[in-house]
């Protein structure tokens, strides 16, 4: 494996990235870097803005395209009852039983095995995730992977680098598993790259499932990717 690129080497790729002129591997590296480097994030946005100035200014939209777009739009989904009680998330002095229950939720709701469950339990007792922690999500066999970078604040970024393309009408959806249940952290679209999300407190695990394009209120099947959040 090549040595990791330095900040400057990655920054040097920003211009080419802004005009989609990187190879996929390099693009993924830059996306991952940009997710955790505000300065490069700003520069990339500025360079993309500059590139967009080169586009046509006054060309008319093609006839009939709107009709096809309107016909392809998903109807609004029914109201989604996500975790209703935020108060319950402040579980003081959480016992092992609660954590085991959370692990059971994982298995029951998502249909996955909690890997290294024993190691997890002791480490979960309310320790905050270290800022800048990267969580590696992987499918069974690790053919598909994505990274979640958890920032110091309440922001986090999903850097999805190796997800298979989806058929029309399907979308990836990110789920957070908490002591009191599973919550949607965002509908990612069929081809996610870098996606900000807000994990909140007490995140135990992250999962990605395939859902319909507008998203689902609960995971409809086993996750494609999954990771337990490491505590320090």
């Amino acid at each position: 494996m090549a040595p990791p690129l330095t900040h400057d080497a990655l920054a040097e790729l920003l211009g080419a990235h802004a005009v989609d002129a990187l190879d996929p591997d390099e693009a993924a590296l830059v996306d991952a870097h940009v997710a955790s480097c505000p300065r490069c994030r700003t520069e990339l946005a500025e360079l993309r803005e500059a590139a967009s100035l080169l586009a046509f200014s006054g060309a008319p939209a093609p006839d009939g395209a709107w009709e096809r777009i309107a016909a392809a739009l998903d109807p609004p989904p029914p109201p989604v009852p996500l975790l209703t009680s935020r108060r319950r998330r402040r579980l003081l002095d959480r016992s092992t039983a609660v954590l085991l229950a959370a692990a059971a939720v994982l298995v029951a709701v998502l249909g996955v095995q909690v890997v290294r469950q024993d190691q997890r339990i002791d480490g979960l007792s309310g320790t905050p995730v270290a800022p800048g922690t990267t969580v590696h999500l992987a499918s069974v066999g690790a053919a598909h992977t994505a990274d979640a970078v958890l920032d110091a604040g309440h922001r986090a970024y999903l850097v999805a680098t190796r997800l298979p393309p989806l058929v029309d009408g399907r979308s990836y959806q990110l789920w957070g598993v908490y002591p009191d249940g599973t919550r949607s952290l965002g509908v990612l679209g069929p081809d996610p790259s870098v996606i900000p999300f807000e994990p909140g407190d007490n995140l135990l695990a992250l999962s990605i499932t395939v859902e319909r394009a507008t998203g689902a209120s609960a995971p409809s099947g086993a996750p494609l990717l999954h990771a337990v959040v490491e505590r320090t």
Binding site: V19, D20, A51
Partner: protein, 206 residues
């Protein structure tokens, strides 16, 4: 389907949406407002389509890309983050990325070259280039023309012709590192040239 069929015609512009900022439109689109999406389409679809056609050299493919970009805005509006740039540049970046993906798919590059050759053979000149010259603002054209030659050529080959910087390096017989820096530097110059110093806004927003 009844619901969408009734909406098939681009709804008339209403003053409510005509006066809403792009960021406001994005929020409304997130709340499933068809009219807000229609307004975003009205404002930006021409540029999105124009860019896709310039890159792809194909009307049908460019329409497909345009459709995808707006359907995607509808289905995942939170992918657009107003803190990280304008809606216009986001839509255009999407259109560009999707057009490039198509070119880079196996054998598509050759098909594109053939389309360009056919066009040039029948019309005697590069139609898309001509169209771009006619519609892009003079200020942008001048700014591009004012770039150092090496920077301009590297940027044009990458942005309009869809080559990777490695391919550009080969085409121009220039080291890859130089091409990387030139593309970055060209974009920075354009930005400095075309952005209002006081507000930081691109000139077309002024």
């Amino acid at each position: 389907m009844i619901q969408t069929a009734a909406r098939a015609v681009l709804p008339p512009m209403t003053s409510e949406w005509a006066e809403t900022s792009d960021a406001g439109l994005a929020v409304a689109i997130g709340r499933y407002s068809h009219d807000a999406l229609a307004e975003a389409y009205r404002r930006h679809a021409g540029a999105v389509f124009g860019l896709a056609r310039r890159v792809l050299r194909d009307q049908g493919l460019a329409e497909e890309v345009t459709q995808e970009v707006f359907v995607r805005l509808w289905s995942t509006p939170d992918r657009f983050d107003p803190d990280r740039g304008s809606l216009r540049s986001w839509l255009l970046a999407q259109a560009h990325g999707r057009s490039i993906d198509r070119i880079r798919a196996d054998s598509s590059r050759r098909e594109r070259e053939q389309r360009v050759e056919r066009e040039t053979a029948t019309a005697g000149y590069d139609i898309e280039r001509e169209a771009w010259d006619l519609t892009v603002a003079a200020r942008v054209r001048d700014s591009l023309a004012g770039l150092p030659d090496g920077e301009r050529r590297a940027l044009e080959l990458a942005y309009f012709e869809g080559y990777t910087y490695r391919e550009v390096a080969e085409l121009l017989e220039t080291p890859e590192g130089t091409v990387k820096s030139r593309i970055r530097s060209a974009l920075k110059r354009l930005r400095a040239d075309l952005t209002d110093d006081e507000t930081g806004q691109p000139w077309h927003h002024l």
